[in-house]
């Protein structure tokens, strides 16, 4: 034990300065020859460890293609052209000129008197979620009253662009050379390949993205054009006309309408109730000060709202009353 302590001290000394007393203690301990040997051994392991290599070879060419695609996007989105010209080196200017030329070509083409291609409309008017597969292989599950629009051949363009009204759960096929963009009236969502839920109903005052895996960029197109980057287990809510809020989640439930499952991992009851209200389309009134911070750890699978409330009754010892249909009141209880 004493030996281990000194070895640790010795190793610690490699990355930081030891105090005078630690230094002295180590030196006097090292005077014994067998101690010196165990330090030598630790050193050998330390040195051997220094040769550790990550045993994988990234595909540089694929990475470069993806990087170039990201730069193209970045240029179009962020850089005013005049400013760009001043800053760019020669090769970048050429690239910028190409982009410009391409842009002109696209604009020009759109003025040609050819019949514009008719967009493809996917619609789900039923109550049940419906799964669609796009030409690029991407899976979209549309919630009720939701619509997804895209142009034929959309997968062959530089950007895979679609428009959503309503709510959808996306499992986007990764294709670094063709980033996937989803337009909604208030926002734009940009992804490479990932799974996430996007909610943008015309009759609601917010647009919301919840990410299950990968990285998703959300831009408030009608506001400040701020872009927020979201990673797994993050949710961004754009309150229309107000701003973007990002929140860390212990668990994602946004696609519960698709899975019929709700899962909560040490989630605050205020958040739980938010999710439950949305999932069942009900209103739950409760004493926020008393119950809001209680934590819940449970799963519901295809449960009815009554079963969920029953669980609250058992765990938090609350009483449930219902006044109007779809409105519930929790009283008493605590955690």
């Amino acid at each position: 034990m004493d030996q281990l302590k000194h070895i640790l001290l010795y190793l610690r000394g490699k990355n930081e300065e030891l105090s005078k007393s630690e230094q002295t203690a180590l030196e006097s301990w090292l005077e014994r020859e067998e101690h010196q040997q165990s330090i030598d051994e630790a050193d050998a392991i330390w040195r051997a460890g220094g040769r550790y290599q990550a045993s994988y070879e990234p595909d540089v060419e694929a990475g470069l293609q993806r990087f170039k695609a990201a730069i193209q996007k970045e240029k179009v989105v962020h850089q005013p052209v005049a400013k760009q010209r001043r800053l760019l080196s020669r090769s970048w200017s050429i690239a910028a000129a190409l982009v410009l030329a391409l842009g002109i070509a696209v604009v020009y083409k759109s003025f040609l008197p050819t019949a514009p291609p008719q967009p493809v409309v996917l619609e789900n008017t039923a109550d049940e979620p419906k799964v669609f597969q796009l030409p690029d292989g991407t899976l979209v599950t549309l919630n009720g009253n939701s619509q997804l629009t895209y142009l034929p051949d959309f997968e062959k363009n530089d950007l895979r662009e679609v428009t959503l009204s309503g709510e959808g759960y996306f499992q986007v096929v990764a294709d670094p050379q063709h980033p996937f963009h989803i337009h909604t009236p208030e926002a734009r969502v940009e992804v490479m390949g990932t799974a996430f839920n996007l909610r943008a109903y015309p009759n609601e005052v917010f647009t919301e993205v919840e990410v299950e895996e990968g990285i998703v960029n959300l831009m408030a197109t009608q506001l400040d054009k701020q872009m927020k980057k979201l990673v797994a287990n993050e949710r961004a809510t754009l309150m229309h006309g107000e701003g973007l809020v990002r929140k860390q989640l212990n668990t994602t439930n946004a696609n519960s309408w698709k899975t019929g499952r709700l899962k909560f991992r040490k989630e605050q009851l205020s958040e739980v109730i938010n999710v439950v209200e949305r999932h069942y389309g009900v209103t739950i009134n409760y004493d926020r000060a008393n119950l809001g911070d209680c934590s819940l750890n449970t799963n519901f699978k295809e449960a009815t709202i009554e079963e969920v409330l029953k669980t609250f009754e058992v765990i938090f010892e609350v009483k449930t009353n219902t006044t109007d249909p779809d409105t519930y009141q929790l009283t008493g209880g605590g955690c």
């Binding site: 190793l11 051994e41 630790a42 392991i45 051997a48 460890g49 990550a54 990234p58 540089v60 990201a70």
Partner: protein, 173 residues
């Protein structure tokens, strides 16, 4: 920029991969590192070497990723018995065999143990810095380091005796 990317992309990916052993995340983070340089290209200045800068950027982003995503690093307390493997422990390992053995042995450490060891060994982070970054106590860091040492000694010990000298020379070059 292309040249820079081609020269260092793999290096950055690997630096991240050492910390987050997931190829997809490693590549996502490496992309961000280069994107950041591209964004700052007109006022990009580095005090040290480019390589050192890239490494720093990669490590910082990886640690932020771990923190932001509250990635739970499994603290498997099962005493993994790493055993001396590979070609029977009779000395004279070829260089590449030794390399393989070292990689394997470290890969097989429990994840938290591996991460703490890597941060200390490669990123020259102090125990306190590691503790803060990972949200664990300094005591835990010390425990993990000594666990790593013990497990690695069990795995590498038989070879290190004879190869110690060789390693030492290698280290000096």
């Amino acid at each position: 920029m292309d040249q820079l990317f081609k020269s260092y992309y793999a290096y950055v990916c690997k630096a991240v991969f050492k910390i987050i052993p997931d190829t997809r995340t490693a590549e996502d983070i490496a992309q961000e590192v280069f994107m950041e340089i591209w964004r700052k290209r007109d006022r990009f200045q580095i005090a040290t070497s480019l390589k050192a800068y890239l490494r720093r950027a990669a490590v910082n982003r990886s640690l932020n990723y771990i923190r932001d995503n509250k990635i739970v690093i499994a603290a498997t307390e099962v005493a993994l018995q790493l055993q001396a493997q590979g070609p029977k422990a009779q000395e004279n390992l070829e260089t590449h065999e030794l390399q393989q053995l070292i990689d394997q042995s470290i890969d097989q450490l429990p994840e938290r143990c591996r991460l703490v060891f890597v941060l200390s060994r490669f990123e020259q982070m102090t125990y306190k810095e590691i503790a803060e970054q990972l949200g664990i106590s300094v005591k835990t860091v010390e425990n993990q380091i000594s666990k790593a040492l013990q497990l690695l000694r069990a795995a590498l010990g038989p070879y290190l005796g004879k190869t110690l000298m060789f390693l030492f020379l290698w280290w000096m070059t």
